[in-house]
């Protein structure tokens, strides 16, 4: 029974990691950069949702839409102001800029919302948990919906990338930026769209995460951001199914090592798994090996 309970919490935590990892992996796929500010967009999304419900009195779902809208715009603005001017200047300067944007967002949050922790009101407040096997297995509404939302996002995104015109353009840009441009694809627009989708998903992840683990602080996004990045690398960065599977594996390992090995070592175990996977399969589970053209 415990095993099943742990599995459910693991999958639910893993789903959050998956949704965040999608943002990392899509942005990496298309612009070959690691957007370390991604974790902080989660935090901004959670704060926006918190403010809309607490101070404006919106219902949870409307606040979620508001948060997604704000984060989508924020993602596009960050890309336009911070990353686009540096495109083509080498990956190191972009990486450092991303870290800078991350600190900027955290400190802006400190200025705007202050550093006092807030307790996030769950989006699913008032919904009874599902109880199975005479109450021994409890699936909270948060876990249930997080997993559902993750699956829906996954299916939707796969369809979008493979079937829609914009999705095809995104794939073309990620495969060969220059050739895509020659074929008449608007590269800037594709990249903006990728940032918009990634950041919107970050807002969803933030709200789902804070519904389950309700403490909200300016540094709330940092740790899940790093874990999700790990998940993206584990699954093979650049690969959408990789992000999904990587996130679920990571979440499950984390919860199981807490439940059965040691609560003190769980983070170490999670990151050790990353090292092992990378030693055995350097491109990650679903990563494609692309030989660099000389």
């Amino acid at each position: 029974m415990n095993m099943i309970n742990s599995l459910i919490s693991g999958l639910s935590l893993g789903s959050v990691y998956s949704i965040i990892a999608l943002g990392y992996t899509m942005v990496y796929g298309i612009s070959k950069m690691l957007n370390f500010a991604h974790g902080d967009i989660i935090m901004v999304g959670s704060y926006i949702s918190f403010c809309l419900t607490t101070y404006v009195g919106m219902p949870g779902w409307a606040a979620l839409i508001g948060a997604v809208a704000v984060c989508t715009v924020l993602g596009i603005v960050i890309e336009r102001l911070a990353y686009r001017p540096l495109r083509g200047t080498g990956s190191l300067s972009v990486l450092i800029t991303a870290i800078g944007v991350s600190y900027f967002l955290q400190n802006m949050a400190l200025l705007v919302w202050g550093a006092n922790p807030r307790v996030f009101k769950s989006l699913f407040k008032g919904l009874e948990p599902i109880r199975l096997a005479e109450g021994q297995i409890i699936i909270t509404a948060e876990s249930f919906f997080t997993i559902i939302v993750c699956v829906v996002i996954m299916v939707g995104l796969t369809l979008f990338v493979h079937k829609s015109k914009a999705g095809k353009a995104m794939r073309a840009v990620s495969e060969d930026n220059g050739a895509a441009q020659l074929m008449g694809i608007n590269v800037n627009q594709s990249i903006s769209l990728t940032f918009a989708i990634g950041s919107g998903l970050a807002a969803v992840a933030g709200v789902l995460m804070c519904s389950a683990y309700p403490v909200l602080m300016p540094t709330t996004g940092a740790m899940p951001g790093i874990k999700a990045f790990t998940a993206a690398v584990l699954g093979g960065i650049g690969s959408i199914p990789g992000a999904m599977v990587g996130g679920l594996i990571l979440g499950t390992i984390e919860i199981f090592s807490r439940a059965y090995i040691s609560t003190e070592l769980s983070d170490a175990i999670v990151f050790a798994c990353l090292v092992i996977v990378l030693l055995v399969k350097p491109t990650g589970l679903f990563g494609k090996k692309i030989s660099e053209k000389v």
Binding site: G114, A115, R118, V119, P129, M209, P214, D267
Partner: protein
């Protein structure tokens, strides 16, 4: 065009920085006849409730003293340390530059350990309202605690539980990355087991207040634990209570002074904290006359009900004021001279009765001697047991 954009962005960014920096300064005025008391605590960050309370409590005491036409005034100079040891030492150095003579601080343990060592080196007398770790005073003959030390909190909780809840199945969740939390836990464990009792489940977490606690809580639940001892701060505690509630797990929680503040947490469903027991030397709902007077004055000044940390700091300022008066030192003396005089007074026959205890006495190690109190949260208030 792009260059212009960048310039605008840079200029506005530096404006924000400048404003932020200016905001940190804080004016200090001196009339030449005041004792300059420095206060250090987290005014921002996850433990901000403590730092704010300490600052306000100290200021209230100073205002009262200054309004009573004393022989010398007390001037409070407060600095933020964000509950971070390095920032705390910076705050301390800044206060030294501004002419601090006595330190009331720090508020929390990890910064207190770093600042305590500096204060010892510089010979600045320090009385901490709430940094309860033993390392804060260890080896520092001029650093004193007004609160119980962590080990004593652990012992007091074990004693109290053994007496009042002898049949409880006790479990512990503590923060193994924080010496405050693990310090209390260690002492609790040895005292509790020394009474021939058993801890049914022990689980840890490391710092991340927003983590998943279901594994720890499942372990408590499966071990049949009905009283969970939480020697941790209120932020992770609120997370634990919320998650436990979702799992249909409703044990009795027992907290220490770090739990104080949970009711003031914005957005927290205070119903979840009903029945929580905590060890605290002060409650705003006490019938005691001095407490009531303090609570009214504090509410009038800051529009908020004071928590234990405010009372600790209030007592600290009065204790420093009384001891300074008794020591015969003058406000014109430098910090080192004052320090020696204060040590002599504090380790002598000086006693102080205030909000957080009667006849407080200090030993040479810097520990305070007073009786502990336990409160229970009922209808969103702390009620003395």
């Amino acid at each position: 065009m792009r260059k212009k954009w960048m310039k605008v962005a840079l200029a506005s960014a530096s404006c924000v920085m400048a404003m932020a920096l200016a905001g940190c300064g804080g004016g200090t005025t001196s009339d030449g006849n005041s004792l300059k008391v420095g206060v250090i605590g987290p005014l921002t960050g996850p433990a901000a409730i403590y730092g704010e309370a300490v600052k306000n409590g100290a200021q209230l005491a100073a205002d009262e003293i200054n309004a009573s036409e004393p022989k010398f005034n007390v001037e409070i100079m407060a600095q933020d340390d964000e509950h971070d040891a390095e920032k705390s030492v910076n705050a301390y150095n800044k206060l030294r530059d501004e002419g601090m003579q006595v330190l009331v601080g720090t508020t929390t343990t990890a910064p207190g350990t770093a600042v305590g060592a500096e204060a010892y080196k510089d010979r600045v007398f320090a009385l901490t309202p709430s940094a309860s770790g033993p390392a804060v005073i260890e080896g520092n003959d001029n650093v004193f605690q007004l609160c119980f030390s962590d080990p004593n909190q652990g012992v007091a909780v074990a004693d109290y539980m053994a007496k009042n809840y002898p049949d409880a199945k006790v479990g512990v969740i503590y923060n193994n990355a924080d010496n405050y939390s693990s310090g209390i836990y260690d002492k609790f464990k040895s005292t509790w087991e020394g009474k021939g009792k058993q801890i049914y489940a022990t689980e840890a977490f490391s710092d991340d207040a927003n983590a998943d606690f279901t594994a720890q809580l499942n372990s408590m639940k499966n071990a049949g634990v009905d009283m969970v001892f939480l020697p941790i701060y209120y932020t992770p505690a609120s997370n634990i209570m919320t998650q436990a509630n979702k799992m249909d797990y409703k044990p009795t929680y027992f907290g220490v002074d770090g739990m104080d503040g949970i009711l003031a947490l914005e957005g927290f469903d205070t119903d979840l904290a009903e029945g929580v027991l905590l060890l605290t030397p002060f409650t705003a709902y006490s019938e005691d006359e001095t407490s009531q007077k303090f609570v009214k004055a504090y509410e009038k000044a800051y529009g908020d009900t004071p928590i234990q940390f405010a009372a600790d700091a209030y007592d600290c300022v009065y204790a420093v004021y009384n001891a300074f008066d008794k020591s015969g030192a003058s406000v014109e003396d430098d910090a080192a001279t004052i320090c020696e005089a204060m040590i002599k007074t504090f380790t002598g026959d000086f006693t102080y009765s205030g909000l957080t205890g009667q006849n407080m006495k200090w030993n040479k190690a810097g520990e305070v001697d007073k009786t502990p109190k336990v409160c229970v949260i009922q209808d969103g208030k702390y009620i003395e047991k």
